[in-house]
Structure formats: C-alpha cells, structure tokens
Amino acid sequence: MAAPAAETTWTRKHLLDLESLSADEIGVILDTAEAFKDVSTRSVKKVPALRGRVVVNLFFEESTRTRTSFTLAAQRLSADVIDFSAKGSSVAKGETLGDTARNIEAMGVDLIVCRHPASGAPHLLSRCVNCCVINAGDGRHEHPTQALLDLFTIRQHKGRIEGLKVAIVGDVANSRVARSNLWGLTKLGAEVTFVGPTTLVPRTFEQFGARVCHDIDAVIGEFDVINMLRIQMERVTSNVFPSVQEYTRLFGLNGQRMRRAKPDVLVMHPGPMNRGIEITTEVADGARSAILQQVTNGLAVRMAVLFLCNQAAGG
C-alpha cells in the first residue's frame, strides 16, 4: 500500500490546532489513520509514503511518548528522522525559536514536529519557515494529535462520535489536551462536560460549547466516555487545591465511582498517569480502559498527519 484510499480534501501543510479545522478535515485525518492502522500489525511495518523526506522532532519540553510516537510514525512512512532537543542546544545559548527553526530548515528538513512550553509557538514557527509544522503540544493551548487519537479511539469503540457524552476530568485550565478535545469532539457532534475544581475548570469554557461541572458524583452516570487528565503535583503550591489527597477524594476515578457509571463507559487518559491519584490501578487496568489502545492508535493518527501535511506541501 503506497497511499491510503481516503478521499483527500486536505489542503493544509501545517497542523497547528484543531480549532481551525472543519469536521470534514478531522474526518479526513481519522479515515486516513484508519487506512494506516494495519501497517503496524504487518511483518514489514513500513510504507514508502515519505521516503526521502526528513522529519525533525523539535522538542523544547520533556516528552517520551509523544516524541517516540512521532518518531515511529515517521519511520513507518520511511522518512528520515532527527531529534532536536532544547537541552544543550543553541536555545540554551539564547537563540530565538525562529532562528533555531530556520537553521534546522536550512539543513533540508521537510516537516518539523514541534513541542514547546509557550502557547502559540508552532504558529510563530509556521510564519518563520517554509516547511510543514506539526504541533506536538504548545503550552496550554493545543495538542491536536492527542485529541485526534482520542477521537480515533472513541470512534473505534463506539462506532461514532456524534451524540456521545464525553467527560473530561481534571486540570482543564492548564490542559492543551482538554482544549483540543473540546474542539474535536464538539465539531464532530459530541457533548463535552468539563469536570473539576472551580479553580481548574473556569466557566469561560461554557462560551465555547462545553458544559462545566464541579461535582463528578452528580453526573458520572451520564457519560459514554470519561477522559481523565493528569494532575500536576506542582498545582498545590499555587493554591488551586489544598492537597493531592483532597483532589483524589473529590475527583479521582476509582472502582466505587465506576459502579455508578454507564456499564459500557470508555475510560481514557492521555498519560502519563498518576496511579492512585486521578485514577486507580483498578480502573486504569480494568475492562473499560482504552488507555493502551490510545497509545497504539497514536501511531496511525500521527502517520496520517505526517502523510497529509507532506502531501499538501507538494511532497
């Protein structure tokens, strides 16, 4: 298989966010990912779609799974992959993001996969370089490929997105995963509820179509999907909740709460998990959990994104 059979109406060379995509465009990525999914299960796990292309992972923030996932995805498309991490690079010497990117591009790179602690950094990059830019997570803004793999996983299990009720639980205010999921899910017709403490789930999100709730027990029975976000321990010092223990009591997903959820509820987590804090081992490893499938699906989704952006750039 050289290229997937999906009807391509994809014209973007960058994937910067999901907010600006249409439902159709998201559909194209998911369908393309579907076509790539079986590549990972074959004995020769490669297609030649990006042969001769160079992908650079430009990561300004620690990441293991996203970087590995993009690397594998690019390799399965037969691209050459280089890793660039901010540590020990010229960034530490004060070079600007634009200069760093232009220097890397000058070495003949076709696609830049960027992770950055500042919201909007990939947008800035896309204005500085000619090659494709793929956002692998920017600040608290968006993490489009994570949301796409979440959508893919939900569709795989539920057969659809439209009409589903999805809870996203935790530190929504600081979460790029929550934002990308909100756009992706609502564009495809799901109903999103953000659940968490008032300090981490601002009502402002209601203006963008989310429902906001601060009592998980009052609503847990409604959802088809529950996506648990990682809690950052550092938040305690900024007084958004008084202790990790209290957070776990109020919002953690445990076996007891699961008994009040729909029997076919799908449990997800973008990782890395804090076992015993936002989610118990019983739930994380339980029958309703799709957490490892999310990781598996991440590969196909990232292959699709790399493939489509490269193709739109004329590659």
Binding site: A118, E142, F208
Partner: protein
Amino acid sequence: MASLLIRNGRIIDPASNQDAVGDLLIADAKIRKIGRLSERAERVIDGTGLLVTPGLIDMHVHLREPGNEDEETIASGASAAVAGGFTSIACMPNTQPPLDQEADIEFVYRQAARADLCNVYPIGAITKGRAGKELAEMGQMVRAGAVAFSDDGCGVADAGVMFRALQYVRMFDRALIQHCEDAALAAGGCMHAGPTATRLGLPSIPAMAEEVMVQRDLILAEQTGARYHVAHISTAGAVEAVRRAKARGVYVTAEVCPHHLLLTDEACAGFDTHFKMNPPLRSKADVEACRAGVADGTIDCFCTDHAPHSAEEKTLEFQNAPFGIIGLETAVPLTIRAMIETGFIDWPRWVAGWTSRPATILGLSKGSLSPGADADVTLIDPACRWRIDAGRFFSKCRNTPFDGWDVSGRAVATIVAGRVRFTTDAARFPGERALA
C-alpha cells in the same frame, strides 16, 4: 524679531475656552496675539482648513535612554514626538538604571537639550531602583525638574510604601502616577483574562488586577489628600472607581491610551505580539467604558505609553515577548478615530485631552495659546487621509499593530518655541525639511 503668522485656521484652545477661525501671531518664541489680525510677520502661513491647537503633550512615553539606546534614545524619541505632533513629552523612569535620583533627572534634560526638538520632561521613580521598598529622593528630583513620580512598569505593591509616598509627595505638589496592577493577581499573565485567553491557553491578567490596586490607592489618596494619577486606565471597573472617587472629591486623574480605545483582547487570537502590551487589550465592554470615561471627564487625558521594542524581541513566543507598542506617530489619528469619528467627544474636548489636561496634571505652564504662553503649537489637518507606514517612522522601533491602517487626521506641522520642528506640508511650509 522672528515672527510667524498663521492665518485663517480654526484655533482651538480649551484653556481659554477658545474655538473660532482666526489668526495666530507668534514672535520671539511666544504666543503674541489671537484674533482677526492685521499685523505683519516675517513669515505668513495659510491655515485654512487646519486646526491650530496648543502643542500636543504626551505625558507617558518610554525613551529607553539610558540603558537601551538601541531601541530608542531621548533624541530619536523626540523625533518621533514632533513627527506625531507632540511638542512636549514626559518620559517614564523605567530605564536602566532607572531615573531615581537628581543626576538622572538632569541627564534627561541635558540629552533633550542636545536633541533640541521638543520639550522632554522626566518623571522620577517613586522608590529607589523602582524596587517598591524605600522612597526615592523625590524632593531633590523635584528640584532638578522631575514633573511627577511613578514606578511605571509595575505598581507600588506595598500599601504602606504607597501611603508614605503619597503623604510625602504632597510637599511638592506633584502627582504620583501609578501603574495599577496587583502583581499576585497578574502573576505571569501575558494577555487579558477573558474568553480569548482561555481559548489560546495563555496565562492571563484579570481586569481585577488593575481594579484592586486602583481601589486601594483611591483610599490612600483620599486619606492623604495627595495628587494621584491612574496610568493607562483600561478596565470598566477602574473607570467606575475613578468616577466615584472624583464625585466624592478625591484628587485623582486618569489617562488612557489609543489602543485601549480601539482594540480588544480578541486581537491576540493569532499570537501576534504586536497586540501584547501592559495593561493588556481588554474586552469590548472595557473599550466602551474607557470611551465613555473620556466623554464624561472621568478620564482626563490621552497618552501613548510609547514603548519601543526591537523586532528581535517582538518575534519571540507570545509569552516570552516583551509588553508594549510604540504610539507617538500614530496617536493623533487613532484617538480621532476612537473618539471623534465615533461621536463620543468634540474637537475642543479632544484637544484638551492632549494639551491643557496633561499640562495641568504635570504642573506645566504649557497647553495654552494665551498671549505670553510658550509658542508650542500643533497644526492638524483633520481631513488628511493617509496610511500608517511603520517603515517611515522616526522612532527606532516598528512595534505597532496599526501598520497599514488607513486613517484620518494628521499633525501637518509641529512648532516648538516658535520654530517649525516638523512638517508634512511642503506647500504651506516651503523650505522646511521633514525634520530640522
């Protein structure tokens, strides 16, 4: 005797309640006469169709000298000022090192005299090193010519220090200008806290960060009876607080920037750092409240908060780029658009906001066209349509979100102490170079 007669202009002088078509005679760097004049002069200019106003005053600019002369100097800032129609500017002390002692104030006057383009008045720091702890030597700075005091760039966080500063400054009849921002509430923010910041995932500065400090300071100002001035007011709540304080007799004044009268936080949606300034662009309701505040006199005057930053700095990530935009060369048409074209105020109120009001706040004997006053005069063509072109700015920097805007109204000549220091109108001012 060097004399200049401007004939048949619309002379607007709010200080003397004047608004009539007539002639203005300047001689020996002073205003001599206004009215239908039969006097002769060495030079006669036809002012038909022009507004003849006192020289405009911008009481809030950052000139970056000493310390960041690559971004602006007192001379380059003065060039930008006269190009924008300003005959007087007051510069903030957040230079490196900050203007916090007598010698620093003298330095600004010395550099301004060397530049010899417009009046530059230094504002001294309230606290030593702008650190918010110990009072700076305000008395000695007053002697050297400091026109007001401010730790602008940040507010004086400690209520006790602010109370002492207000108490102390009363001796000198100078205003304390506060950058109103509660540091803890604003912590790490880079744009207004509202739906756009939520969407973009950018750390944000809530309106209440400004309002908490305004409210606190108004209590302190009322207690001390000192002159208190709110810098670059930007929120509806702050405007309302000042309105109420004025009603109960607190000695408070306020200024507003063109961008807070024209743009909202939604402009940040593309992560363009030219829309990043502090205070940040606020909501539509805040913009409307600021306009209404100018219209009813709650907000006394306009200012630019001219804040030059190099292109290198402004092309950083939104969170990491510095706050601020330049404003001297765009302020006239932008405040016309925000306030006159929208029908909020008339020309005399507009002129007062750029002349007599800031002059009063800073205690300057400027901002008036009365006979005997310094001959600082700005000629404005209200009908001039032009396109803002940052590439032609006299400022050393280009960090403006208004590049390419089509606007109306322009200062066509800037006269400082009787001398034409800038003109765009070669027909009326033959032989004058763009910048003398």
